[in-house]
Structure formats: C-alpha cells, structure tokens
Symmetry: C3
Subunit: 350 residues, 3 copies
C-alpha cells in the first residue's frame, strides 16, 4: 500500500486549479468524464488495448485526452506521467478488477477514495466480517458443501461480473458445478427481488441525511441484467435444459432502472449509515459512491450479498438523474447529480 504521506506529498505539489480527472475507458467512464467536465475539471482516459472511437458519439462523455498503455501493469510504470498532469484517478469496478487490487494499492498516484477499503472488499471473508459486524443481514454462509440442503449460490472470489457463479440445490449439484482451482464461497440462495442500491457518502457535505460525520445520499437503484440467467426462463425449465447441456450463467450485460417501495427507504438509509460507520472503525472510512447489492424477501427484509465500494455501472441509466436524485435537488439543465459539486471538489484521496 502506498503510504498516505506519499500521496499527500504528491498532492501538495499539484496545481489545484488544474486538476485532471482520470479513469479507465470502460465501465462508467462516460458519466465520470461528463460529470468531471461539468465541474470544470480536465479529463484523461486510460486505454489498454481498447478501441476508443465510440467516445466520438458522446462528445459530453469523451475525455480531453487518452493515454494508451500496452497492459494494465504499465500503469505502475507511468506514474510520473499522471503526476505531471495533476491527475486524480477515479477507480471504478473494472479499473480495480483489471488492474488487480494488489497493483492498484501500489499505484503512486492520488486516487479518489480510501484505498484501504480494497483489503476488506476483495476478500469475501473480510467483506462478510465488515458487513455483519455493521449489523447488516447477509445470506447465511455454508462452509461444508455437504451441508447443502437448500438452494445456495456458489461464488468465486473477486469481482468477475458473475462469471462462473452457479446455483446448487444439493451436494450432487455442487459437485457437478464446482471449479476446485478457485477459492469459492457458498451462500444461502435468498428468494426475492434484487435491488442494487447506489449510495454516496460525503464527509465534507453539509445538510441532507446526516451520519455521525458526513452526509449520505441515495443516488439511484438498478437491477443488473445477467446473461444467460435473466432470460433463460424463456426456453423451459432449468432442470430440462440441463439435460440438453444448457446451464445458467450470471454475466452482467446491462442495467435496468427500478425504484423501491417507499416504506423500505428508512431501512436503506440505516444500512448505508451502518456500513459507513463501521468502515470508519475498521479502516478509516469509505468515501464517495458505493453500492449495497441486496435482495428483498417477501417479508420485506433486506439481505445484502455484496458491497461495491466505488461507482458501479448500475448508475449508468441515471446520467441525467433518477427519481431519487431528482427529489434530492432540482435537476439543473446542462448539469447532473451523480457527480455533483461535492463529488470531486474537496476530494478524499489516498
């Protein structure tokens, strides 16, 4: 981990009137660049073997400049270039996944948010420890696959966009699906509807929903659209399809906007608040956008199966606002909420 002092030293030499917001050309980069520009920042895209012509179709989301690298590892070799440009890196889900969290921890460039969160987020055991000790209800974990007597979801470690996840109803199902070369977790499969809750926590904002030392917002909510599970029902019963060699998969391909029953909002804010508070006790606090990935049961209880401690792609449907952000403050023409004034100004970097 880059020592905090090193980052602070770099920041001291930055020209604060000429900050450049940089991120990887993928995931949610269109809205990151768009929002940064609205706040008066220059923008810098990082492309690794990527075709970036598509930005031409989105002038408002196109970065001012693009750095092209031959591999993600080259990020570490190009630290000086980022520093010379006064760059602050906004990490998004793909950024951390492709670079690798060990490498990300070492990049000696100021990044938005507290890097220490990676340690707690990238390992499913630590993630569970953080969330459950915060009082968040999670799907039960099974340690022995022989104990499977109800539907479970088997997940491999790390953010892989759902690739390789599978559902098992008993031990034979598990044996059929498991890849023993990867570390995995077995979670109780919760029946219900999924809501990906997009929060924003600011330690410097005033007003709004106050936590002990900051303000919490709910930016929007989406449902992830996963291939092939989300349309598999069209073809027939999974039990039948398996006989044809067709198995469900869980690869995120898109996002659908949703809103949640209003009476669930108090619980949603309580959960966000607890997660923030516990993050402060455990590792000095999370800051900025994060997402609780939840299921609502038919008893109207939340079960959180994962946390993403940075911007998720599920915010992409809401570039111009959501029913939540529109009720938080008036939609300003030519502006937007999800990267509002509080987002980067007075940024926390680590």
């Amino acid at each position: 981990m880059v020592p905090k002092e090193r980052i602070h030293g770099i920041l001291e030499d930055y020209d604060k009137d000429d900050i450049v917001v940089a991120t990887l050309c993928s995931h949610s980069s269109l809205q990151i660049f768009h929002g940064a520009r609205l706040e008066g920042f220059k923008t810098l895209g990082i492309a690794v073997d990527q075709n970036t012509k598509f930005y031409d179709a989105f002038p408002l989301g196109k970065p001012d400049e693009i750095i092209r690298l031959g591999s993600y590892a080259e990020m570490l070799d190009n630290v000086d270039e980022f520093i010379d440009r006064n760059a602050i890196i906004i990490p998004h889900g793909s950024f951390v996944e492709y670079l690798g969290h060990e490498r990300f921890e070492k990049v000696e460039v100021p990044t938005y948010g507290n890097r220490k969160v990676l340690h707690w987020e990238s390992d499913r055991e630590k993630e569970r420890e953080w969330l459950t000790s915060a009082g968040i209800s999670m799907p039960r974990k099974l340690s022995d696959p022989k104990d499977i007597n109800r539907p479970v979801l088997v997940k491999y470690h790390g953010a892989k966009g759902g690739r390789g996840f599978f559902i098992a109803k008993d031990y034979p199902d598990f044996k059929l699906g498991i890849d023993h070369t990867q570390p995995y977790t077995i979670q109780e499969y919760i029946m219900g509807t999924r809501y990906y809750l997009h929060y924003f926590f600011s330690p410097i904002a005033e007003g709004g929903y106050r936590t002990s030392d900051g303000s919490l917002e709910l930016l929007s909510i989406d449902r992830r659209d996963e291939s092939n599970i989300d349309e598999m029902y069209k073809l027939g019963a999974q039990e039948e399809l398996k006989k044809h060699g067709l198995f469900p998969s869980f690869v995120v391909t898109g996002n659908i906007p949703v809103v949640v029953r209003e009476s669930l909002l108090p619980k949603i804010f309580e959960m966000g608040e607890k997660v923030i508070q516990r993050s402060q006790e455990l590792f000095g606090g999370m800051v900025g956008p994060f997402c609780l990935e939840s299921i609502v049961t038919d008893k109207l209880e939340f079960k959180v199966f994962e946390i993403s401690s940075r911007i998720v792609a599920g915010t992409n449907p809401f570039i111009s606002g959501s029913p939540y952000s529109d009720t938080a403050c008036p939609r300003v023409e030519g502006s937007r909420r999800s990267l509002g004034p509080h987002w980067i100004r007075g940024t926390w970097t680590s």
Copy 2:
C-alpha cells in the same frame, strides 16, 4: 361515512390561501409533498411509529412538518388538529390500507377524492360489479374451487400488496394453498404481460382528452416488481421448488418503468373513460389519479384484474415525467407533471 355537508362546512371555514396538504409518510409521499410544494401548498406528514429521517435526504420531498401518532386509530382523535391547520388529506394506497377503510370513511377531515369509492373498491364483488358493468373485460371468476381446470389466481380481499396470493392449476393445488380464515376470490389466471395504467381524471380541467364532463390523462405506466415471484425462475421450475418447500409469493417491493405498444392507447383511454363514467352513475364519480391493473394477452386484449382509485406507488419512477406526460405538456424545469396545477387547486374533497 362522514356526511358531505359536514366536510363542506369544515371547508367553508378553511383559509383557502393557507391550505396544508397532508398524507401518511409512506408509499408515494415523497412525490405528493414535492408536488404540493411546487403548487405553493404547505405540507404535513403523518407518521405512525415511523423513522422519518430518510426525508432529510430528499429536501424536495420532505414535509414542512410531521405529526406523530401512536397508532392509525389516533387519526380519529386528532381530527381537530388537522382542521385547525386547514389540512386536506391525500389518501394513497398504504394510507387507506393501514388506517382501514371503515375508519377512513369516518375521518372528519377533508380528503382528496370521493370517499364513496371505498365501498366499491374494498370489496372484490363490488369492484367486479363496477368494472364489468362499465364494459371492462376482467379475468373470469370461479365460485367453486372444484371447477378449477385452468390456472387461477387466488386473492384475499383488501389491498395487501399481494401477500398470500397464490396460483393453483387444479383443485388439489387450491387445497394445498388456501387459508380458509380469510375471504378470497378465485380468478382465471390470464397469460400475458402486466401494465399498471396510471390515469388522472379531472372534472375541472379543460382541453385534453374529453369525457362527458372532464378530462382524462395517462400519466405513466409501470410494472410491479414482486417478491419472490419475479425472480423465482432463476432457481428452477416451480414444480421442483415446491418439492423443496419453496412457494411463490407476490409482495410488491418496487416498480419498473414501461411503455405500451402505441396501438393500445385508444383502448386504454376507452377503458379509463368507461370506468369514470360508470363511477359517476354508481356513486357520484371518482376524481384524481387512479390505476387500472391490466394484463395484455397475445391477442392484444386487455384484461383488468384490479382498480386502485387513488395514487399508486407505480407512479414513483416518474417524479420528473414519463414518455406520456412529456408528450402531454412540456417538462417545466423545477416543476413536474404528476401533481400538476389541476391536481389540488380546485380539489374535490369529501
């Protein structure tokens, strides 16, 4: 039922320049308060054992003041306080459900809309009588469960957000699921896609889609998101799941925005018009927002399985407008459609 004359008497003493819009802090209250404020009204929240801190996150939807009650029944004891404040109550689905329609009928405070609708809406027999006599096509009703030879939906009386509903394909299925302690209805299960049609009828508006004595609008359309039925397919065939003790449930947890095939719009307006007209013949007329809960079959026919004669939570995704309201009138910055100028000004109260 409070006599109309009593309400008119109360209204006569109201200061018309200082009307307060009041509703229960749940369901669709954020948009009711937001819209009321845009129209220049003061707002008052009614909280019964509720955590209302979440309003701090939504300054535009936060009521000016909140009255806290120990129970819903206390509404009846606090009538004077509402009257002293010049309050008009906007009933929403949860409001009527939690208070109970018998109690709601007795509250001696002006409320938005015609209270007599409750008598026709809260009893599934009367509801069916109203809709079918208006020429609306509904799923066939079965009186004898032994006659079940096609899929049916068994529903208990009263708006319960789908709790306890179940699907049966034959009589043994029915026997397995039924709770004989509650009154129920057996409806033919219609195959198709669900559209919750949000209408607004104004007897005082001019222009627009004219009925015999008012104007009808289509505000928006949503799909309800129900736990656990709406994601149950992920786990396997229901027939298999039942063997594991897992049964479908129909509890509303959220809403998804949709639009309908344009060629269905004439039918949608005809249905709305007929329902309004029949309500006038039967009980003096419905006013304001209402919702026909429909299924579109693959023959492009509508089957209406329920009516909600007040604002439904399915309008929540459309706080800033919908494709329908945006084609009805230009989106005004800082304003919104669903609680437009015609909504409360010149309100009908009962």
Copy 3:
C-alpha cells in the same frame, strides 16, 4: 419500385418552406409528430379505421391534421393529396407491415429513407445475406428441421410482432408447432439477454462517430416486452404448462428501457458501421434510424437476429432522451434528441 427520378421530380415542385411530415397513426407516431413539430414542420396523420381521439391527451404529439382512409390500399389512390400537401412520409414498422412492402414500394410520394432497403429486409434470406456479408454474427440457420438437436426459434417471414414464433428443442417439438402454410426460418436459439440497439445514421451530419461517409449515433436501447413469454415463468415450467395446453407466444406489447455494459459500446458501433457500409454497397445505403436486434451471450458476444431499417417502437420510452442521447448532446428544454435537427432537414427521400 417508384423510380428515383419520379420522386426527385415531385420533390422539385415541393414548397421546401412548407413541408408536411406524414405517418400512420400508430407505432411511434406520437414522437414522430412531436419531433417534426419541434423542427418546425407541419404534421399529417394517416388513419385507417382507427380511433384517434387518444391524440387529444398528448397535445405535443397530435398531428395538425388527419387523413382518414378506408383501407391501407387507398394510400395508392390518394397519392395526389399527399403531393399537393408537400408531404414526406416517415415509414415506421407498422406502416410498412400494414401497407405491405410491395405496395409501399409503389407509393408515388416522397418517403424518408431508401426504399430499396425493403427488398433486403422483408425476406429473411436476403436479410441474412446482408448482415452476414457485413461481418455480423447471427444465430446459425437450419434448413432441415430434422437436424434440430439444440433449442431453435422458428420464425415466419415479415414483421409480425412475434405472432406465431415458437421455440422447439427437437424435431417432435417442431412438428407440434409448425404452420406449413407460411414460409418460415429456423434459427439456433441463442441463450443470453436481449438488447434492441437504436441507431441513427446520417450521411449529412458532421462530427460525431464518423463512418466512411456519415455519422452514426446510438439513440437508446430497449428490451421488448412480449406476451405471453415474458411472464409465463410465473405460472410454472413450460413443459408442465404445455400439458395444460398453454404455449408460449411472442407478441410485442411494450418496451422497457435498458443500458448495456459500457465495454460493449465499441462492438455496438462497429456493428452499426458495418451494416451501414454494406448497405451502401448492396443497395445505395440505408439512412436515418435503424435497429439491430441482438442477444448478448455470457461470453459477451453479440448475436444479431434481425434488423429493422426504420424507427422502431423501442425508442418510445426515450421521447425526452436516454442516457446515450443525453451524453451525445445536452438535453434542450422543450426539445428532444431522437428526432433532432439532422433528422428531417436535408432528408433523404426515395
């Protein structure tokens, strides 16, 4: 086919300052009329046995005038009336389907877009030739139903909104479902999530995403909502339902807004570019809105199962903008993107 010269001759006599945009009163007419008016054009609806009162509810989408015809065939007899009014016809999916593409080709009125596309689009063999020769990956086609050993979709020729399509897993399934009186195609059934990609190609626009001789936009993306397949899962396994005589159907009843994983955007633009380029080689080029109807597999590959070479109803959720159009140019109050300035001004007619 009307000779191009004939159309050019007609256009020469048009009063360019008094152009009337005409379309059939269905499908996407509300937004076509709304957009045309924003661009300063007069509008003309064509109604064949249709109740058009619903337009009264949508003043912004209501045509200035409506011509009523007794049948679609009468279009051909009323050519002079359209010409006298300086009308340019905007064809949409229902327009071409109801009129019939042979008749549409013969209408001696200027129409938006290149009519030659019909020849390539209305026949599934030609459509496949166009797309595959453009390098687009399509579901594999089977010529002999006896070869069915994986799930396939059987589709009849012509745009029928999915009516009569069916899924077969083997030859007996096929025999059960097939209507031998209609020409059909057997396509491999691709497992994945559906994205209906709404493009716009302008040969006269400057800037943006450049192809060899024009600019390509991504307006929005939707998911079609089909009755009864999209909610059939609620009732149980298809295999069980078939025993009750209940079969899946694929009739489009509505549309749901979606966004796609950002990393898929480069592929989306490449596909659009290739299709445009190949259309120029094959028949002089497509122009304006078109839609690639795609499935994204769990390997994040696109399979395109159909092209619509005109405006699709899936754009209807986005009358006021989409996350894509909002990142392409700022949302202008009282205006809209999907029928922007480039749409009709300098229109291509054939």
